[in-house]
């Protein structure tokens, strides 16, 4: 059983559409990070959220941290082919000894 569940596992959309991916846990996150990984490369940090209810924007990407700090979402507006990749959430959970624990990832494919 994973501490962090990401959904959906796979998402295929057309260029210009919007999408949302989710990261959930039954535990409270001390903080949560979102990474994007492209084929043949390592994950690269997109954002870190710390405060419950926090919303951060990175161009067309909007990250939201749940009020109870148990969940997070990533919303992409007007997706482009360059947004294609594996999106990983990683959380610090006290129940896991404050180690950074990764979710299983959501693979996003944006078709032109």
């Amino acid at each position: 059983t994973q501490l962090l569940e990401q959904s959906p596992q796979f998402l295929s959309i057309q260029e210009g559409e919007n999408l949302t991916v989710y990261c959930n846990s039954s535990s409270v996150f001390s903080s949560l990070q979102w990474y994007r990984q492209e084929p043949g490369e390592g994950p690269v940090l997109l954002v870190t959220v710390v405060t419950g209810g926090e919303v951060k924007k990175l161009k067309r990407l909007t990250f939201q941290f749940g009020d109870a700090r148990k969940d997070s979402s990533l919303h992409i507006t007007a997706a482009q082919p360059g947004d294609t990749g594996l999106y990983l959430c990683a959380g610090l959970i006290k129940a896991a000894g404050n180690k950074l624990t990764f979710g299983g990832g959501t693979r996003v494919l944006v078709k032109p």
């Binding site: 994973q2 001390s30 903080s31 990070q33 990474y35 990984q37 043949g40 490369e41 390592g42 994950p43 690269v44 940090l45 870190t48 594996l86 990983l88 990683a90 610090l92 404050n98 180690k99 950074l100 624990t101 990764f102 299983g104 990832g105 693979r107």
Partner: protein
């Protein structure tokens, strides 16, 4: 300049062999990690070193032995390779110990055991 570099990028070997993967970071970070990413893309921490000292050792078979000669290097040696060891191994570094900040990952080393 590559921040976190690991070699080799690809490794194909027979069951039972011993192999090593090397990692170096030029970011001046104190903490380095080894992660294993399986075929389902699940990324799982294996080891973490802070200033050459082991601080995280997950339930990894003792065939896996990390070595940190200095805080800029963290190597991974694997003895008696098994089929299930096939995966992509990522080295990463971060500034500070616990809790970690941003992780900077290498490009990964894809290990295939035949």
């Amino acid at each position: 300049d590559t921040a976190v570099s690991q070699t080799p990028k690809y490794l194909v070997t027979q069951m039972g062999n011993d192999k090593s993967i090397k990692c170096e970071q030029n970011l001046g970070h104190d903490t380095m990690y080894w992660y294993k990413q399986d075929s389902k893309k699940f990324l799982k921490i294996m080891f973490s070193y802070n200033n050459k000292e082991l601080i995280i050792n997950e339930t990894v078979p003792n065939r896996f032995s990390p070595k940190s000669p200095d805080k800029a290097h963290l190597n991974l040696h694997i003895n008696s390779l098994e089929l299930g060891d096939s995966a992509v191994y990522f080295c990463a570094s971060s500034q500070g110990g616990s809790p970690p900040g941003e992780l900077f990952f290498g490009e990964g080393s894809r290990l295939t055991v035949l």
